[in-house]
């Protein structure tokens, strides 16, 4: 005869409600852990998926993810000349925020170095990689752009040719993949009026120089597009990604490149660390704190519930003592109820979480390790929180059954 279950069955409605309440609380604890995992996963996902061995960035910056980095596009060719480098690609990365259907649309724009990189490495859920060097994009489903949909960014209109899922920047924005040229065009898009003003300014600057008086033909150049003027630097890329040839030492390549005065170089793990230590660290501590607080609150609430449940049957407990039930019976009654409450609460949290978490604005990742850890914590608080009730139950005198 299991007294714990008999008592619960006697008050089944109240117990069920309590369990759902505890379950929802545990679900939030579970979700916090999942959000933390999601943030780490999202932050490092790009670095892992892109799969470069080395990242060459602007000297003394921690770019291109943790901060802005600017390197000249010709760095690709310098990198290619280093012995042991198999391939080098431009990497362009920046976030834009535009309006679409009256709602803000944030896109983390990532440039693929056409034609070496058409995005074959991107895990597509539908569609295909880029097939031409312009006006095509691959969009993450969080952007809400469907296959075949068109979107105007800058002066051009891009067609979605492929979609991905869970490709998110470290700040949680959906990724859009473009060719490097398109990515730069979006980034450095300047309105026509601004171009005209810039040309006028160039002309004025030119006229002030003695050189233009000697060589008036120089002034004819000011109306040409910036890209055709050798004096004006080409738009810069965020970083250069290097793949080290099989068998070559990545340390040697790193040593050579870091000797260049204009750039810094990071390994893939180095980049991960930069992101985790810099961007994610504070979030991690914040969420960790929330988890601890919520766990404590759950423990306190469970202790109160178990204490009131014990008080409710204190007369029965006194009576059990009176007819000679040993302390183990009484301890077992309360402890089992605590464990049932904890286990069922955890079950509710898991089942409910499975339904609710996918609708969270940020990704929630439930790892087996985290689930097990939470289960152990719930077990511990179940036992811990039953102590107050057990203490009360063991203290009650059998006499109280008579009053």
């Amino acid at each position: 005869m299991n007294l714990a279950i008999k008592d619960i069955r006697h008050n089944v409605g109240r117990f069920a409600l309590t369990t759902v309440g505890v379950g929802m609380l545990l679900m939030v604890v579970m979700g916090m852990g999942g959000i933390y995992r999601g943030i780490i996963e999202d932050a490092t996902l790009l670095i892992d998926r892109v799969g470069a061995d080395l990242w060459i960035v602007q000297r003394d910056t921690r770019g291109p993810f943790a901060e802005i980095s600017r390197v000249p596009p010709n760095l690709v060719h310098r990198a290619l000349a280093v012995p042991g480098v198999q391939s080098a690609r431009e990497f362009v990365y920046h976030t834009v925020q535009r309006e679409r259907d009256g709602k803000p649309l944030r896109i983390a724009i990532l440039g693929l170095s056409w034609p070496t990189d058409k995005g074959e490495w991107i895990p597509l859920t539908a569609g295909r990689p880029l097939a031409q060097s312009h006006f095509e994009m691959i969009a993450d489903k969080t952007l809400g752009l469907a296959l075949g949909e068109k979107i105007t960014l800058g002066k051009e209109t891009y067609t979605v040719v492929g979609t991905t899922s869970s490709m998110i920047s470290s700040s949680g924005d959906g990724l859009g993949f473009f060719s490097v040229a398109d990515a730069l065009a979006i980034q450095f898009d300047v309105p026509g009026e601004a171009v005209r003003l810039e040309r006028a300014a160039r002309e004025t600057r030119g006229q002030r120089r003695e050189l233009s008086a000697k060589l008036p033909s120089l002034l004819e150049n000011v109306v040409k597009p910036a890209a055709e003027l050798p004096q004006i630097a080409r738009p810069q890329v965020s970083a250069v990604m290097v793949t080290v040839a099989p068998g070559a030492s990545s340390q040697q390549v790193t040593n050579i490149i870091s000797a260049w005065g204009d750039v810094s170089v990071f390994s893939r793990t180095g980049q991960r660390e930069l992101l985790l230590k810099g961007t994610v660290e504070k979030v991690k501590r914040q969420i960790g704190l929330f988890r601890v607080l919520l766990t404590l609150i759950a423990a306190v609430i469970m202790a109160l519930i178990l204490y009131t449940m014990t008080l409710d049957k204190i007369h029965s407990i006194a009576l059990l003592k009176l007819i000679g039930a040993p302390n183990t019976t009484i301890l077992g009654l309360i402890l089992q109820q605590a464990l049932i409450l904890g286990t069922m609460g955890y079950g509710v949290a898991y089942v409910l979480g499975r339904q609710v978490f996918p609708n969270f604005p940020r990704r929630v990742i439930l790892t087996d390790g985290d689930l097990l850890q939470l289960a152990a914590i719930v077990l511990a608080i179940s036992i811990g929180s039953s102590l107050l009730g057990i203490w009360k139950a063991l203290k009650v005198s059998p006499n109280e059954a008579l009053s």
Binding site: K6, L322, I323, P326, N399, A401
Partner: protein, 244 residues
């Protein structure tokens, strides 16, 4: 009747005194109450309300230890004042059946389970416990309500379930505090006869607090309490030992 042939003592109290509270709220509920109950004897305990009958019974039942005085069960000193010799709870479980003034059942267990649990706590298998519980309940006329919760039973039915629980472990000491108050006179009589039968068959010492003067003929001796003091009052025609 020689002294050596008399059955051994089931219950003995020596100058048991119970004082509740202290100072000007002090209540002397029981004063130097002494009683000897031999195995097989059925004792009636009479007395006006507040005279200390329940106090005496709970002291003998090892529920409410006396302030001073001694309680011996089966010749063994169990309570010396408030000091316990041995585990009172184990002692209660093995040797004492108690029927309370108010019916006292566990609300979340069915009638049957309320009886069964006393047996199972004492190490009976669930099957054997169930069989014995149903037997007792059948005898007391409540087996048809076996699967009902106490809240669905009448006061008298609850009381009979409580009686079944008290008898379940074949106690050597049976203490009943107005067990028949909620029963009709016929059932009341039947319960009293059951107690006498238990006393004889199990060699148990039985003390019954009662106001029902119609059943007094069943008892071997009658005690009366008055302001906490115990008096052996009326002696039935013969001593218990003589009737057998």
């Amino acid at each position: 009747m020689t002294k050596s042939a008399a059955p051994p003592l089931a219950i003995e109290t020596r100058q048991a005194t119970k004082i509740y509270g202290s100072g000007n709220t002090e209540v002397v509920a029981m004063l130097d109450a002494s009683m000897q109950v031999r195995q097989g004897e059925v004792i009636a305990l009479l007395g006006p309300s507040g005279s200390g009958k329940s106090t005496f019974l709970t002291a003998v039942g090892l529920i409410n230890p006396p302030t001073s005085g001694q309680i011996l069960i089966g010749g063994r000193l169990v309570l010396d004042g408030p000091t316990a010799h041995g585990n009172l709870r184990t002692f209660r479980r093995r040797h004492i059946g108690f029927i309370f003034q108010k019916s006292n059942l566990i609300p979340f267990l069915t009638a049957l389970e309320n009886v069964q649990i006393a047996l199972q706590l004492n190490g009976e298998t669930p099957r054997a416990a169930r069989r014995r519980s149903l037997e007792l309940m059948d005898y007391l006329g409540v087996s048809d309500r076996a699967d009902n919760l106490p809240s669905a039973l009448s006061g008298g039915q609850q009381q009979r379930v409580a009686i079944a629980r008290a008898l379940a472990n074949r106690p050597s000491v049976l203490l009943a505090d107005e067990p028949t108050a909620a029963l009709d006179s016929e059932r009341g009589r039947q319960v009293m006869e059951l107690f006498a039968q238990v006393a004889h068959e199990q060699s148990a010492g039985v003390i019954v607090v009662t106001h029902d003067h119609r059943s007094l003929d069943i008892f071997d001796a009658i005690y009366e309490m008055e302001d906490g003091k115990m008096q052996r009052q009326l002696q039935n025609s013969q001593a218990a030992t003589d009737t057998r």
